[in-house]
């Protein structure tokens, strides 16, 4: 009876359908376009975990990863597997100490073009040299650098859940190379401050403007006849939509059921149409 014969061979378990998970931007083929994203994946692939890699990719694409947090030295995520309760995945990477980062900053400040490339969202190709100069390795060099854990019953580590998280991370790094530094214990602002000595202004809806008392003069208070409408110049009807959003690129760890850019295109178009179709003032 086959029943007995197959006793030790589990049929591959089917994960439960996950809703609202993070969907990988990559739809087929390899993950990550940029060299550093690929480099990150190489680390995973060097663990030779066989078919789990492929299943991890499929998980990442289907949105089985419910959420993902990148903190200093640690990535935590919840992955929907075949059991009702999602599995907890934790990745830990050795962080660099303050003096170590100090050394990286010195090396970086000697090469201004590197910083510029980073700001443009590009990891300089020979960034590893910079770290090597500081006697460090940006990517996990040995298996000891990286500790992974998953609450699933699979004995293999990394399992497919860890792999899925790993792939998503590669995409996130593609988008924002600073995340890789963050994982190593240095966030973007601190690094900029360390290298450029500059503090980047945090975004707000408007700058803080000093107050101004109300005028007591009746003319200034009530206002007189104005000098006609403010000339707003010619407004041409847009021919492309949601351009600012497109300029910004992919949203980090998008979990929405529809594509953000597509959704925004519809919204911007509707708004512009409504604004230009108001009955003439």
């Amino acid at each position: 009876m086959s029943y007995f014969r197959d006793f030790f061979s589990y049929p591959p378990s089917q994960p439960r359908e996950a809703k609202g998970g993070i969907k990988a931007y990559s739809k087929r083929g390899s993950f990550a376009d940029k060299w550093w994203g690929k480099r990150w994946i190489q680390v995973l692939e060097s663990f030779s975990i066989g078919a789990r890699l492929q299943r991890g990719r499929a998980y990442a694409r289907r949105g089985q990863v419910l959420d993902l947090h990148i903190d200093s030295g640690e990535v935590s995520a919840r992955v929907q597997g075949s059991r009702p309760t999602p599995y907890q995945v934790v990745l830990q990477l050795m962080t660099f100490s303050a003096p170590e980062w100090e050394r990286v900053a010195v090396a970086l400040s000697e090469r201004p073009a590197y910083m510029a490339k980073l700001l443009a969202g590009e990891m300089p190709e020979d960034i590893e040299e910079v770290f090597a100069q500081a006697k460090l390795s940006l990517f996990p060099a040995t298996q000891d650098d990286l500790e992974t854990e998953c609450s699933c019953p699979d004995w293999s580590n990394p399992c497919k859940h860890i792999a899925a998280v790993y792939y998503l991370l590669a995409e996130a790094f593609d988008q924002d190379p600073f995340l890789l530094f963050k994982l190593r214990g240095m966030d973007r602002e601190s690094l900029l401050q360390l290298v450029l000595g500059a503090v980047q202004q945090e975004e707000g809806e408007s700058e803080i403007v000093p107050g101004e008392p109300l005028p007591a003069d009746a003319g200034q208070f009530w206002g007189g006849p104005e000098p006609g409408p403010v000339d707003l110049g010619e407004t041409t009807l847009p021919t492309a939509w949601a351009v600012l959003a497109r300029r910004l690129g992919a949203f980090p760890f998008w979990q929405g059921s529809s594509d953000l850019q597509e959704a925004l295109t519809v919204i911007y178009r509707k708004a512009s149409m409504a604004a230009s179709n108001r009955d003439a003032f």
């Binding site: 609202g20 107050g211 007189g224 006849p225 009807l237 600012l244 300029r247």
Partner: protein, 986 residues
């Protein structure tokens, strides 16, 4: 509460108490305008103090509606005037809409009162920032005077903060409401979402921006993700530079005349320092430290590389070629083949530009109109003929046409050869043009099937003036020989039209500019084209029109002309016709006893001119239609500016040989009103109403497209003649002082009051003797004059003012033109009571302060009024005076319009009054109007004085006393009420 006029419903339930901090003194807030409350006379110091006010919170849609109404006109209704603060918000809303249109916003969240809500945030580029600063500089303090109740100090948020807040709120609300699902009946069920991102997207499209998501940590994460996502933009908005993409065409030594070599186009990257926009530094140079640009940057302490690479990184997402160029160590641009250049021109450029980058394109692409790739040139061959020979705009003539590309006329073979090239851009005889092979093929086919066509001259005129198209292609030019060519040249103002002598039987002399106007009317009339005579008030639109009618009669016209005007000017037309064209028989068609149906048709055919009102045009349309009209004239044609009204439809439904519209309001300032007037004059010229809205109204009013303004001007120009009294060619023809009489009509109420007083007097007059008779006559004269002024003046009962006096309506109509043209006016009345009625009413109508000087005003106040009226810049523009002798010694030379609302019947007194304006220091022409109710004692006494009868020179000079010397029967004749005095009230 005037809740109805403002469109906002107010009740106890939807209001609350708030605190308004207003400049106050002596325990009272300072009035927002002098006509609200007269300024208080105290030496007390002005302080900003809190006042409890009833307030009503407005929903965003209510704000939009209200502000849209204010933007149109500050006077919402009689006595309801939008203040400068409300008008400021209307301007700010207009700016917000422009920002929405330009897509200057990004989705985000906002934390308020502990909750995280979806929010569209403004992303300002330099241009929008500048607009906001312009707005800020004009913000009245009142825009930021409200605070919650119980605050101890006045609000001190800066104008800029208030402006940015309002605009940001408006954009946020507008985008959400424009995207809100239109569902009828809301379901109570809370929507459930799979992820916080879905909930966020939904909240960004809902009127209520609440994100339906429970997990606060995840909401916080969302905020963090949004910050991270938006960060790249942060970098570029704070940069000192802007990245500019310039498309350079292949150099001349490249092979021309064909698709061009591969990779001959180039997009070069340039940096533009924000503090010196004239500088464009080639990025290629920046990589080389020894170039001028690099040295310049070094001198200015700039290190743009960081910005540059970040910006290029962002641009890479919008234009793939930019991304490819980043593979180079020192990216400075990229090259394109012709197809790529075309793609860049048609798509990438706009995308990069709206994302905030600079884009410079070759001028042949950006120049307006030259991008019309393919156009039609029309050729019309017509014989040499004179207009009079039975030709009109309705005449059909033949035409053929040629196709042109980028201004070059091409044969079919050439076009087909080009279409086969399969390249979107070609260099044609030295200039680049866009090539749309499919369109060319379609046009060539169409051309082969219809090499020529037939059309009315009217339709040819329209395309020649830049309206309409042929076979779906724009018409670039019309070449015409023969009479059609003559007509087109004359319409475009190239050929001189014949200047005509005044009609033989015309009584009176036309001034030179009137001669030209009359000739122009005649020219268009001969072609059956409609004319809009829009001369300034006082330049004699009536007389020019009458001259045309007279000429038509002299040349054998036997059919009548229908003239439609507001009731208040019916009498004026009769009087003017009597004066200038006594041989024209005039039928006044109004009043309850007017002729109808067959009787009217018969009477009309026996007259040269039928004068009627807008009300009757619509009411009697059925039988007005049965008459064969030679022409239809609309006086005060702004009455048909709304194409939907019944009178507007009625005017369009008649089919006379020719049509004329008269108006004194500058039609070009009211684009929205133009369609209906032009549709009446020249149906089809501006296309359908919807086409007009799309092609002209929206581009001009919402987007300020100057090219559309020009196109509209070109299209309508030949049919509109507007001369200002300040025009050089006109001013030399005008006397320094023009005295005119304006005849008005009584309302039915005025007429019945008048008749009642007459009846009373007739009885008592016969028995009266001596001093008693004298007193009776004088008081009767006063009462009748009061009735002619206004029933409320006569009754003295403080009753409503609107719509009860023909004279007042006429005054308001004339003042509308005066106020719009920026002139200042004096209005004289004998009676202080009437003066105060005028002041109150005119303030309500025009929403501005009206000065009123009467005997009771203190000297220092009088001096202040005069000073304010005389000052340059914003000042009260209407001054009502009721003073014996009009306040001798007053210098009111800023006025160039003088109205005598009622009469002293004493020319020297009236002249003294007039001379307040017409005296040394007056630099403009002064128009003086004496207002007279036709068919009443006002008209007859005026005639007596004019005729200078025995009594005139000596006796009349003393005022009204001489009237008491007249016999009872003479007196009764003078004060009688004629039939034509009464206007038809609607």
């Amino acid at each position: 509460m005037r809740s109805i006029e403002s469109g906002v419903k107010v009740s106890k339930q939807n209001t609350e108490m708030a605190c308004a901090w207003l400049p106050s003194k002596g325990g009272l807030p300072l009035a927002s305008a002098p006509f609200v409350v007269a300024p208080l006379e105290t030496k007390a110091k002005v302080r900003v103090t809190p006042w409890r006010v009833t307030a009503r919170r407005l929903a965003f849609s209510e704000i939009c509606d209200l502000l849209a109404r204010c933007a149109e006109r500050p006077v919402l209704a009689r006595g309801v005037v939008a203040g400068a603060d409300v008008r400021w918000f209307a301007e700010a809303l207009r700016a917000s809409m422009a920002f929405v249109n330009r897509q200057c916003y990004l989705p985000g969240v906002r934390e308020e009162a502990g909750a995280i809500r979806a929010r569209w945030g403004l992303v300002l580029d330099d241009a929008s920032r500048e607009h906001i600063l312009k707005l800020v500089s004009r913000m009245p303090g009142a825009c930021r005077c409200l605070s919650e109740e119980g605050m101890s100090s006045p609000p001190d948020s800066s104008p800029r903060a208030v402006a940015e807040q309002f605009i940001a709120d408006a954009v946020d609300n507008f985008v959400r409401e424009a995207n809100a699902p239109r569902v009828v009946g809301t379901s109570k069920r809370k929507p459930s979402f799979d992820s916080v991102h879905d909930a966020w997207l939904e909240a960004l499209c809902s009127p209520d921006a609440t994100i339906q998501w429970q997990d606060r940590t995840q909401l916080k994460d969302l905020a963090q993700q949004i910050r991270q996502w938006r960060r790249p933009l942060q970098l570029s908005t704070h940069a000192d530079y802007r990245l500019v993409f310039r498309l350079d065409e292949p150099r001349d030594d490249d092979r021309a005349g064909s698709a061009g070599p591969m990779h001959s186009w180039c997009v070069n990257y340039l940096l533009q320092p924000k503090d010196d926009l004239s500088l464009l530094l080639p990025v290629a140079d920046l990589w080389r430290p020894r170039t001028r640009s690099a040295r310049w940057l070094k001198r200015h302490g700039g290190n743009p590389q960081e910005y540059l690479l970040a910006a290029l990184g962002q641009a890479a997402g919008l234009c793939p070629e930019v991304g490819d160029s980043l593979a180079q160590m020192q990216p400075a641009g990229f090259s394109l083949d012709t197809a790529g250049a075309h793609r860049f021109l048609t798509t990438n450029a706009a995308v990069l530009e709206s994302a905030g980058f600079g884009v410079l394109l070759p001028s042949w692409w950006t120049r307006k109109g030259s991008r019309q790739q393919l156009s039609v040139r029309l050729h019309v061959n017509s014989p040499q003929m004179q207009a009079a020979a039975g030709l009109s705009a309705m005449t059909v003539c033949e035409f053929d046409y040629k196709l042109a590309l980028g201004g070059e006329q091409l044969s079919i073979e050439e076009l087909q050869a080009l279409a086969a090239l399969k390249t979107p851009l070609i260099k044609l005889r030295g200039a680049w043009v866009e090539l749309n092979a499919e369109q060319i093929r379609a046009a060539a086919d169409f051309w082969q099937q219809h090499p020529s066509g037939r059309s009315t001259v009217g339709a040819i005129v329209r395309v020649a003036l830049g309206g309409g198209e042929i076979g779906g292609l724009p018409v670039e030019g019309v070449q015409a020989v023969g009479w059609v060519g003559d007509l087109l040249r004359q319409l475009e103002g190239e050929g001189q039209f014949q200047e005509l002598a005044s009609p033989e039987t015309f009584a009176g002399a036309l001034r030179p500019y009137q001669q030209r106007g009359y000739s122009w009317l005649t020219f268009l009339r001969q072609w059956g084209l409609g004319a809009c005579l829009a001369d300034d008030m006082g330049l004699g639109k009536t007389i020019q029109t009458l001259a045309l009618l007279q000429r038509e009669r002299e040349r054998g016209e036997t059919r009548p002309v229908l003239l439609v005007c507001p009731t208040s000017v019916v009498s004026n037309w009769r009087k003017e016709a009597e004066k200038f064209t006594p041989s024209l028989t005039v039928l006044i068609h109004h009043g309850t006893d007017r002729r109808r149906q067959e009787a009217f048709r018969k009477a009309a055919s026996e007259h040269a001119l039928v004068v009627s009102s807008y009300g009757l045009l619509q009411r009697d349309l059925k039988f007005l239609k049965d008459v064969s009209w030679a022409g239809l004239v609309l006086d005060e044609a702004q009455n048909v500016k709304n194409p939907e009204t019944k009178q507007s439809r009625a005017a369009r439904s008649l089919s006379p040989d020719y049509r004329i519209a008269l108006t004194g309001t500058p039609v070009e300032n009211h684009v929205g009103d133009l369609w209906a007037i032009m549709e009446f004059l020249n149906p089809g010229l501006l296309g359908s109403q919807a086409e007009f809205k799309e092609q002209f109204l929206k581009p001009i009013q919402l987007r300020g497209v100057t090219e559309a303004v020009e196109r509209l001007k070109h299209l309508t120009g030949p049919f509109v003649l507007r001369r200002l009294k300040t025009d050089k060619t006109v001013i030399s023809d005008l006397p320094e002082k023009m005295e005119m009489k304006t005849y008005c009509t009584l309302t039915r109420e005025q007429a019945s009051l008048y008749a009642a007083v007459l009846g009373e007097v007739e009885k008592s007059l016969d028995g009266a003797e001596g001093i008693q008779r004298k007193g009776l006559i004088l008081s009767t004269l006063t009462r009748l004059k009061q009735i002619c002024n206004h029933p409320a003046h006569f009754l003295g009962d403080n009753s409503a003012v609107d719509g009860r006096s023909g004279k007042l309506s006429r005054l308001v109509e004339m003042l509308e033109e005066v106020v719009e043209s920026g002139d200042r006016s004096l209005i004289f009345t004998q009676y202080a009571e009437m003066g105060s009625i005028l002041q109150r009413h005119l303030q309500e109508v025009f929403g501005q302060e009206v000065l009123f000087l009467h005997g009771g005003v203190l000297r220092k106040h009088r001096d202040r009024m005069v000073e304010r009226f005389q000052q340059d810049g914003p000042a009260p523009s209407i001054f009502v005076l009721s003073l014996k002798a009009g306040g001798t010694g007053l210098n009111l030379t800023r006025a160039n319009q003088v109205f005598h609302f009622d009469r002293w019947w004493n020319p020297s007194v009236e002249n003294q009054a007039t001379d307040r304006a017409f005296r040394i220091g007056q630099t403009r022409r002064v128009q003086v109007r004496k207002m007279i109710c036709a068919g009443t004692l006002e008209e007859r006494i005026d005639e007596l004085i004019e005729r200078k009868t025995a009594v005139a020179e000596t006796v009349v000079g003393t005022g009204e006393k001489w009237l008491t010397e007249l016999s009872n029967s003479d007196l009764k004749k003078i004060i009688a009420l004629s039939r034509e005095a009464v206007g038809d009230q609607l």
